[in-house]
Amino acid sequence: MTKPVMTASHAVADIPDGASIMIGGFGGAGAPVELVHALLDQGARHLTVINNNAGTGQVGLAALIRDRRVDKIICSYPRTSDSRVFTEAYMSGKVELELVPQGTLIERIRAGGAGIPGFFTPTSVGTPLAKGKQTQTIDGRDCVLETWLKADYALVKADRADPFGNLTYRLSARNFGPNMCMAAACTIVQVRTVVDAGAINPEHVVTPGVYVDRICEIPDPKQEEELVRAQVVYP
């Protein structure tokens, strides 16, 4: 089945207030800047965002937080080279934080995509992040129960898409995108280029098209890290 190719503003148009949104990327690698800016322009509020971090500088996710559009963030590392926007919002009680170990975060996302409602992990046992969680010893390992994480939408940056939504990623920009594509009810992907059917070797596909709902072709995408270093403020 071919997937619709549309503009970023069109792709995010139906995201409602209160939506949960997974946003791909680790640092600037894989951050879907154009999609997040389209969401910023679109106006949805009271969002729950799942990302490894909590925004840097004044662009992308940081701009979304700055403009009080995010009620809650689920992430592992909300401190970056310039995470003042999140820090201010958090310290003033404007945004809720659910802190999750990075491996548990991605395993929960993977579980959401793979239909695993819960899993036991030794990660965080005996730490404050295990507080209140069910524990069990399995095969001699003390574990905590973690549950799956799903979202209404995923915003993901890939490199190439074919008309069926099959994706490849560039270098370490692969990171969270492929797992997030599987865990969201509606996955919106920005790609550098939409290639012809057959142009992606079936053995090289990283995200099969079944996980992709909407494609935005953005031929010269911004690299978030470069925007941050240039101190760009959006909008």
Binding site: M1, A114, F164, G198, V205, P208, G209, V210, Y211
Partner: protein, 227 residues
């Protein structure tokens, strides 16, 4: 049962009927055996993507015999081809696709189906070698499960039963049944007769069904082309 043979659908016709309900854009897993025939009868213009649980998305038709490659097989271990847009995934990712609710429809065979949607299709409980494969994963994970089966066994025993006597594959999973005689919906704990082959009365089909069979107000004839 001889008098019924003239009206019963053939295997190909049964597959044809099930295929008419496969929607455009669906991702579909076809069970081993008769369900695999469905892919040949999807109406023109509908784009359907077939998944094979051994790790292929985008399965195409069988190859010519001299083109067979046993590294490219489906879940029935038969050689297949790839359609444009196909991809391979590792086994855990293939079942993530199934168990994660990404497959719109699974069409499976059945030994017994109950009005509550319970399905038994992996074991007749005998003393032979049990084998389950991906059946329990498919019924737990696919968005919809429909069954394709003869209405009764070779010996005439109903397959639509009040309660499955055979070991279950899944609980409350089946939503529609295509048999050689009828199309039956499974909804709210009831069997509802939607379509019936011509020449067979509702009393006759009820007699071959070992559970109450509600008759849909708009009961339609079950008609398939000669195949």
């Amino acid at each position: 049962m001889n008098e019924l043979s003239s009206v019963a659908l053939s295997r190909k016709q049964m597959a044809w009927r099930a295929a008419q309900d496969i929607e455009d854009g669906f991702y579909v897993n076809l069970g081993i055996g008769m369900p695999t025939l469905c892919s040949g009868y999807v109406p023109d213009g509908r784009h359907v993507t077939y998944q094979s649980e051994n790790g292929i998305l985008g399965v195409g038709p069988s190859p010519a015999v001299d083109q067979e490659d046993f590294d490219l097989i489906n879940a029935s271990k038969a050689p297949v081809t790839l359609l444009p847009g196909a991809s391979f995934v590792v086994q855990a990712d293939s079942f993530a696709m199934i168990r994660g609710g990404h497959i719109d429809l699974a069409i499976l065979g059945a030994f017994q189906i109950a009005p509550n949607g319970d399905l038994a299709n992996w074991s007749t409980g005998d003393d032979g070698v049990p084998a389950v494969g991906g059946a329990m994963d498919l019924v737990a994970g696919a968005k919809a499960v429909r069954c394709l089966t003869t209405h009764v066994t070779k010996s005439g025993a109903p397959k639509l039963v009040a309660s499955c006597a055979y070991p279950l594959t899944g609980l409350g999973v089946v939503s529609r049944i295509y048999t050689d005689l009828a199309v039956v919906d499974v909804s709210d704990g009831k069997f509802i007769l939607r379509e019936l082959v011509e020449g067979l009365s509702t009393d006759e089909i009820s007699a071959m069904t070992d559970a109450p069979l509600l008759i849909a107000p708009d009961l339609k004839p079950l008609i398939a082309p000669a195949l």
